[in-house]
Symmetry: C2
Subunit: 316 residues, 2 copies
């Protein structure tokens, strides 16, 4: 049985054909995020190109799965709201089902990434799993009893918006001290910006000042690799907050595994020590001693694999 899995990102749309546990084909294109129509046209194109590839190879596609950053009402297949796309109350499932003639399943991108980790990734076999995507922001997915947990309206697992430090830095969501405001790519960038504004000088800050737009957590990680103490301090502080957030999640869920994916994994070796120290010192012993905290083993395929698994399991 083969299915299509699509990961709709803010800048890229990636797709795969999954047959069994094998990726048979890939698709990658810029996302046209200029309008709702543009996004939907891009999704339809991804499906039709992958279906053509499948047809040429005699692979029968049985369903389409889709992961989208945003609030998704899974039952109705509607994207209620999306931070990086012009999608508002978009009936994505029905529109794509109409275009493809296939069953379509739509969910939040971090939810399907969690599913991929629990089925094929670092958390393979976990019945209770918490997943965090560490990128520009922090997304979350929760697997309970082997299935994605969505809550009453599909808005659950906003784990980046758990408050870790009341009265801490302002988050994009309007609250203060969210995990995302302390340990995401944006949070790390802001700390570099603050260090620059405060006149703290280090190779990382100099590179930041020479071209702020090109600077990223990855750049900071390279400076930390080269021994920049300020860069190391910023990444280790973010790791500390992440460890506290994970401790709260472990106390709440008593999970088998916490898995981590996303762009920040590139500089995660500078965060991990402080993360584990904060976690070990904070979580309750029974849950702490049971859980494994693991990096994703799926790399960039987590999103598309998760979307494909969503479709596969939706069929059964």
């Amino acid at each position: 049985m083969a299915v299509i899995g699509i990961d709709l990102g803010g800048t890229k749309t990636a797709g795969i054909i999954l047959e069994g546990e094998r990726i048979e084909e890939r698709y990658r294109e810029e996302t046209d995020a200029s309008s709702q129509e543009g996004v939907l046209r891009g999704l339809a194109q991804a499906c039709s190109e992958l279906m053509e590839k499948a047809a040429r190879r005699g692979i029968g596609i049985e369903a389409v799965g889709l992961g989208i950053a945003g609030f998704v009402d899974f039952e109705r297949g509607v994207v209620t709201e999306a931070p990086n796309h012009p999608l508002r109350d978009a009936h994505v499932r029905d529109i794509l089902a109409d275009k493809t003639g296939l069953p379509v399943f739509v969910d939040n991108d971090a939810n399907v990434a969690a599913l991929a980790e629990a089925r094929l990734g670092a958390g393979k076999g976990s019945r209770y799993l918490v997943h965090l995507t560490l990128g520009t922001g922090i997304g979350g997915g929760i697997i309970i009893d082997g299935r994605i947990y969505r809550g009453a309206l599909g808005a659950a697992a906003e784990l980046g918006h758990m408050i870790v430090l009341e009265d801490g830095p302002m988050c994009n969501c309007g609250a203060r001290g969210c995990l995302e405001a302390l340990a995401s790519g944006v949070a790390i960038y802001r700390r570099v910006e603050e260090a620059a504004a405060a006149g703290r000088i280090s190779p990382a800050v100099e590179e930041f000042l020479s071209d702020p737009m090109a600077f990223s957590a990855e750049t900071l990680g390279r400076h930390a690799d080269a021994g920049d103490a300020l860069a190391r301090d910023i990444l280790s502080t973010a790791g500390h907050h992440l460890g506290t957030g994970i401790a709260s999640l472990v106390n709440i869920f008593n999970p088998d595994a916490v898995t981590l994916s996303g762009g920040l994994l590139g500089c995660f070796h500078h965060m991990e020590g402080a993360m584990r120290e904060a976690f070990e010192g904070t979580a309750i012993a029974i849950s702490r001693d049971h859980v494994r905290i693991l990096r994703s083993t799926l790399g960039n395929d987590g999103g598309t694999l998760g979307a494909a698994l969503l479709a596969l399991e939706g069929l059964s």
Copy 2:
């Protein structure tokens, strides 16, 4: 169908006979917490007295449910660890089943309180519910898809040990800034103690100084009722932290209801305004606008009713 429900507290053991949704008999006795044998003897006595009462009235008892503050491995019926009882790896289910000849079900007290709220209490009919017991400490229970969520080892829902303010006051669990260290009876007591130590004078502090051992959150609430500004400030601060904690839980679970029970409800009118303000300003709109935050309507019966429901649903 009638069942026994027992709530094993640190000082009192309460029991009921539940038939349908009616409480037919009650039992109440001091808890002998001097030894594991004392606790188990007390539980067996509660069962036998309630069974005698049932027999006299011709009511057939079909099972026993038990709620205990502590870590409970529900699958095995074992109390792993309990903060207020000398129970360690106690095979409570099998011991009581042996004494009574009935099926016995054992769970954490806040878990069964959550079940009671979802079935018969303020959150009646909720599919997704988060419950907080606000007393000396803060306990938590989570209902997902209508059932108690226990996690991998039964240690889940330690909602009092979600970190709300990193580097905040020390909690009994060894971490800093847990919800319990900011918004429980113990947290409130500590703030009064600190005010007294700092020489802040108010009627509440004077009563505290005259007899610290007799002072409680209830005493503080009475002073707040009478207009004591310091008392009001302490309770409103606790309410603020509680509102932040609830916002995190609502962002994580997207629940239908959050229900609150416990001794602090007696002075909750001084906490509620700040709680709702912090909650409204922090939670994500979709989940915030859906959830209802409700006081328990079950009073002191929440624990025994929940234990009875655990037994009733365990049978089916």
